[in-house]
Symmetry: C2
Subunit: 216 residues, 2 copies
């Protein structure tokens, strides 16, 4: 396991299909201005070359502002573009196969839908866990039943690995996810599909920051 | 460029959609019994984990009979399973990005649809070229106009890299592709969709062997 150097606070996951015709780079730039601390590029359609070209352009921007880039699923794309991390779902490459390819310095995030997934991923050396779905999500059709805040908290009690809550997260529930053990909030549609992604990101970031400083 | 250790003579490319409900492993076993010398696994749908699991099972069989395994597109899958090679189309990872990841020992094949593609791929260190489409093919909808035998010959004259002819190849035209400069014949539907893949492979292999020994 590599030392985690990533601030997971507000973790954007891209989705071209929800972007209302705006480019992924355009969404990412706006979201980072609004306070996103980490970006995961997720491209489930299109060619490998197109994914690499997009990742290269997004990475050039992110490097200029010190925000890390994580690639969904494609270990080869992550390696080719020198991404900071790769995110692997339970149907992607197993962590034990990916670690020898990417080495110790690349962050590997694993999707966990249960305590069992989370404990296994921690034991295998995951750098962070994407805990999902915390709430009902419109983004993915194939997910399990929502874990809820109690499910998130139970995973928090079971593992020490940083947890990123994902699934139906938005301005109205980000704070309670933080208070129930999430180290970060992953957002897809609440930013990507927003009329104003920058303002949407800023509002969620404010909720996260406030939830961490209950004394303010 | 690595020393090519692969016999490209009869090069099977899998296609689950054409397999009439038979498993890829079943097709591969029959095709190897019929004389296939090299297998490329091509999986354009399904999960990464599913692709890896299939590749592991096909590789276990191929290792037992000394036939090399090449993975289509997915450099990460090729690395994870320790494949002999990876085949990259013009929309896949560029060779220059893939070589540092896979090292010198893994074979990299590149699709070439023109003399220009072929010369560029040779210069970049491709281990072999998939020259396509030589004939009209029912397998892929997005290919360029067929090169024909004259186009294959022109590429043969332009490069020294081993050439594998692909696109509409079958028992009736394999021999003329060999006589026009192909080092091997890549076959999809003529084996994968055949009533008897073993017999289909054997018949094509016989054509190839005969075309190489015109004195017999």
């Amino acid at each position: 396991m590599s030392e985690s150097r990533i601030d997971y606070s507000l973790y954007l996951v891209t989705d071209r299909g929800l972007s209302r015709g705006r480019s992924t780079l355009e969404i990412v730039r706006a979201a980072v201005r609004g306070g996103v601390t980490c970006v995961q590029l997720r491209e489930k359609t299109g060619s490998t070359r197109g994914f690499i070209e997009e990742a290269v352009s997004v990475k050039a921007f992110l490097n200029s502002c010190g925000v890390p880039l994580i690639i969904n699923d494609r270990v080869d794309v992550a390696m080719a573009v020198g991404a900071d991390g790769v995110h692997l779902g339970q149907s992607d490459m197993p962590l034990a196969a990916a670690r020898p390819l990417v080495g110790a310095s690349m962050v590997i995030g694993i999707s966990a839908e249960s305590i069992r997934d989370a404990v296994a991923a921690q034991a295998a050396g995951a750098d962070y866990l994407g805990v999902s779905p915390v709430f009902t999500t419109p983004t993915k059709a194939d997910t399990a039943a929502p874990l809820g805040l109690a499910g998130l908290r139970a995973i928090r009690e079971a593992v020490k690995t940083p947890l990123v809550a994902i699934g139906g997260l938005n301005c109205s529930n980000a704070a309670e996810a933080i208070r129930n053990g999430a180290d970060g909030i992953a957002v897809v549609s609440a930013i990507v599909a927003a009329e104003d992604p920058e303002q949407a990101a800023r509002a969620i970031r404010r909720e996260i920051d406030t939830a961490r400083r209950p004394w303010v």
